[in-house]
């Protein structure tokens, strides 16, 4: 478990002080895959480095499994760091060591015997699917393979926590998907808590169960991925969600719709259990109204279905109003204005 209690971090530069992280309070539970998303410069990279004290907080407390990191001696801190694996955007592999040498390195630091290092390295190579690459040097590997080595190296000391610094940002979409699958296995099979930072909403959507959105050093929104995805409160969060999923048609399409004399449009959100019932069809039939789905999708987020439909209703205005009122009792419904898209 990782706790941030009112943590701030500022850097002094000759021109001005930079407040990279401001008053962050967050709890990452054991076995979470917790994602922190933000645009570059939002402070997420600094936040991540506070977890293993590569950066010291200016104020506030960071606790890992109940231990306040700032209270440790440098020797105790080094021991604790071995319980926290870390992977990087640019992999940061040692170019002077082979794949096996990279993976065995943290064990060498611990003074583990040669035979044990060899055994553990073999096991990790097989876990990340690189058994045939043990004696290759990093420059002989593709980006995805390098990150697999990075993950194996981070797991060598059997950590309880894995922190990922933009681990997929340098990879193509297909390789990203592979690495995310591997991180999911790390979490599910080894029970390791994963804290990752990213600017890609796709990463959050694919593997995280909880998310925090950062902007200008502050956490502006956080919670279960499903809740944040289905009901984003902050405009920045909405922008991130729209980067992977546009929830309403573009302004151009909306204006064309209106120009052609189209009816009012309503955005209807179906979450979880309500997706099991033919709600839209039941309610409209009851009031003798036709509905027309103009735009939308139904997706799975965190093993739950989430429907986002943009519909128009045809019939008597009073009946339409009744339909909307009745739907509003069970689902979220709101009118889509032509200039919104």
């Amino acid at each position: 478990m990782i706790e941030f209690l009112n943590v701030s971090k500022s850097f002094e530069t000759p021109k001005r002080d930079v407040h990279a992280v401001k008053n962050v309070t967050l709890t990452i539970n054991k076995e979470d895959i917790f994602g922190v998303i933000g645009f570059s410069g939002a402070g997420k990279s600094t936040l991540l480095r506070l977890v293993n004290l590569l950066e010291k907080p200016t104020s506030g407390v960071v606790k890992v499994n109940g231990t306040d990191l700032a209270s440790l001696s440098s020797k105790e801190l080094r021991t604790l760091r071995r319980r926290i694996g870390m992977i990087f955007q640019n992999f940061n592999l040692f170019t002077s060591r082979t794949v096996a040498g990279n993976i065995g390195y943290p064990l060498k630091l611990e003074g583990v015997s040669k035979a044990e290092i060899e055994r553990k390295t073999k096991e990790l190579l097989s876990f990340v699917g690189l058994s045939d690459k043990a004696n290759d040097y990093p420059e002989q590997l593709s980006g995805g393979q390098k990150q697999r080595v990075g993950i194996a190296r981070a797991l060598a000391t059997s950590p309880e926590i894995l922190i990922c610094d933009e681990a997929t940002s340098a990879l193509d979409p297909e390789t990203t998907a592979d690495i995310l699958k591997l991180l999911k296995r790390v979490n599910a099979e080894l029970g390791i808590t994963v804290l990752l930072i990213t600017h890609e909403m796709n990463v959050i959507q694919t593997i995280c169960n909880r998310v925090a959105v950062m902007e200008q050093g502050e956490v502006i929104e956080s919670g279960d991925v499903f809740d944040v995805f289905t009901r984003p409160k902050h405009t920045t969060t909405q922008r991130f969600i729209q980067s992977v999923h546009q929830d309403i048609p573009s302004t151009e399409v909306l204006q064309e719709w209106k120009g052609n004399g189209g009816q009012h449009l309503y955005r209807v959100l179906f979450k979880g259990a309500v997706t099991n019932n033919p709600l839209l069809s039941e309610v409209t039939q009851k009031h003798g109204i036709h509905f027309n789905i103009v735009y939308g999708s139904v997706r799975e987020i965190q093993q739950q279905l989430f429907g986002n439909l943009v519909v128009s209703f045809e019939g008597q205005i009073n009946d339409v109003k009744k339909v909307i009122d009745e739907l509003a009792l069970k689902v979220d419904i709101e009118e889509v204005l032509a200039d919104e898209g």
Partner: protein
């Protein structure tokens, strides 16, 4: 006058041996001192693993004061200290002392430059894995910089052959001494040519060895 080559060849061989002796000893001691200073310069830099403004600035200033001094002047200026440390200022062994000091400062800068070119992310990764500053120095900094470092030391070795010739002119012995006494002071061009050819061969050998070693380490 003409040189009697039958007696002169053994003198040339002996002088070549003296040059190699000076260069190799200087390389060993100069590298130990220079690599230590270079590492110290690097790790005490701002935001580095053993950041210390005072140490860095003092060391930096000191190196900047020593390095621009021409070697022949440095050699003479250092002679009182050479006498204290080595017991004499004359001879091949005595020449190793000023050569080592001069080489060490040059090597320190080369080491520092090579270390700066290491990806800081790699050092951060080692810190994240719980490496101590000392472990970072000998398991990350040195292995990661070794390839370019060997090329740098090759460059230094070639300068040392030059230094040894200069040291030879003020009683250090070696090929420089032979070239000056026979070639320059007695106006014998043939001796000069022989010593110069031997120096060229030594430089070529050093460069070839350095290239081969760094190629093996850098794998390119």
């Amino acid at each position: 006058m003409k040189v009697d080559w039958t007696t002169f060849w053994p003198r040339i061989v002996e002088a070549t041996g003296e040059t190699l002796y000076m260069v190799l000893l200087t390389l060993i001691f100069g590298s130990i001192l220079g690599i230590t200073l270079g590492l110290l310069l690097f790790v005490t830099r701002e935001n580095n693993i053993l950041e210390s403004k005072i140490t860095f600035n003092a060391l930096n200033l000191f190196i900047n004061i020593i390095r621009p001094i021409p070697f022949i002047i440095f050699l003479v200026a250092l002679s009182p200290l050479t006498r204290i440390v080595m017991g004499t200022t004359i001879g091949t062994t005595a020449a190793v002392f000023p050569m080592t000091i001069a080489a060490a400062f040059g090597i320190a800068r080369i080491v520092e430059t090579n270390l700066i070119s290491i990806d800081p992310g790699v050092i951060e990764a080692a810190r994240a894995m719980g490496a101590s500053p000392f472990q970072i120095i000998y398991t990350v900094l040195i292995p990661e910089a070794l390839g370019p470092l060997i090329l740098g030391l090759t460059f230094v070795t070639i300068s040392l052959i030059d230094f040894s010739a200069v040291a030879g002119t003020v009683g250090g012995g070696g090929l420089g001494h032979v070239a000056i006494t026979y070639g320059y002071q007695r106006f014998d061009g043939s001796v000069m040519i022989v010593t110069v050819v031997i120096l060229i061969v030594l430089v070529q050998l050093a460069q070839w060895l350095g290239n081969a070693l760094s190629k093996k380490i850098l794998r390119r």
